[in-house]
Symmetry: C2
Subunit: 213 residues, 2 copies
């Protein structure tokens, strides 16, 4: 592989920072591939190192334990999704933001299924462990929740009585997204239904954000 750009030394020579960046990226790719093939439990640190083109011990040495490797991968995946999300909801509020977010979420399942699947595989894996990974998830979860709450509160067209319930509405929204993802993980072939679930949630959110009585 050609070097991305010339370093400060002669050809082929890499800085320490470049070396770790390259090995990190390769191990990230290997992790995604192996988690897709064998699930998180069936993915060994040894395989990750070897598939990435290094020794059996590197993943262990770099990350300390399996959990931290997964936490690392999850954070990287989370950042990739966040770019997608921000590119589409930038500056939007209320129902507009919610709808664009859901459209993009569906689209990302279509465009980058490997990343989404790995992301949520690790996500669900963390339900059962008190660990680094589980902390990362909690962080992501909390940020998502706050984003949703902000979308609601920053929209001047939304009623005060609705805003008072922003936390509950955000909780319902997050829960529904998790449910949809769960469906998609188990029925990746049925994109039509996955799309319908996204649409259904849009509709539900419309009802929730529009004061009825």
């Amino acid at each position: 592989m050609a070097t991305l750009s010339v370093s400060n030394h002669s050809e082929g020579r890499l800085t320490q920072a470049e070396r770790t960046e390259i090995s990190d990226q390769r191990m990230f790719d290997a992790t995604v591939q192996l988690v897709l093939e064998h699930g998180p439990a069936g993915t060994s640190l040894k395989e990750v190192g070897v598939l990435a083109g290094y020794s059996r011990g590197l993943a262990s040495h770099r990350f300390g334990c399996k959990d931290k490797l997964f936490s690392f991968a999850l954070r990287r995946l989370g950042e990739l999704w966040l770019e997608q999300l921000k590119s589409v909801t930038q500056g939007l509020v209320g129902l507009n933001a919610v709808e664009k977010a859901l459209d993009q979420h569906y689209q990302y399942c279509v465009d980058a299924p490997d990343y989404v699947r790995t992301f949520y595989s690790l996500w669900f894996e963390s339900v059962n462990t008190d660990s680094e990974l589980s902390d990362s998830i909690k962080g992501i979860h909390h940020r998502r929740h706050q984003d949703t709450v902000a979308w609601i509160n920053n929209d001047s067209s939304i009623d005060v009585t609705v805003k008072a319930q922003a936390d509950s509405i955000a909780a319902q929204f997050s829960a529904s997204v998790v449910g949809i993802v769960y469906y998609w993980l188990n029925n990746p072939e049925n994109l039509a239904e996955t799309r319908r679930l996204h649409q259904g949630l849009k509709h539900t959110m419309t009802c929730l954000l529009t004061p009825s009585s």
Copy 2:
């Protein structure tokens, strides 16, 4: 421990069937306890056998592999929940059935949190494995789906245009329940919000089952 009831022989003598029933039950209890404490991945067959009062090897020998032990535990837990569910939805259809089911689901989280938590820990664990366990889940999932579809189709007060979408509505219902459970697993202390999510889903289902336009 006193024998549950006299067997066909003298005191303290058990039939083979009784012996396995007892060891199965003890290993089931041990599995629930250990999964609660350490998660499925952190639960070893060795510990299960020992905690149940047997040798380190029994769980391995009886179930063959970890996955089959979990599959066994999951089926037992599923049956317990099914009793609860049937006791409350027997003979009901449509929205009535859905609402009673959700009430009971919430109540079961309150009354038997250990069972519900273990059940769904194993449930989410199975997302990442192609195995016996994953097959059991698929079965349970399919039955739930069919039940919901039947509730919709057997209710004469529900419109034909709605019944035509029975599958999609059932999918949305299942997904939402999964999402709610995911919330509860991560926020077991917040029963109020869990209750609200159940109520919210009832409301959504009311909308879905009542033709609007």
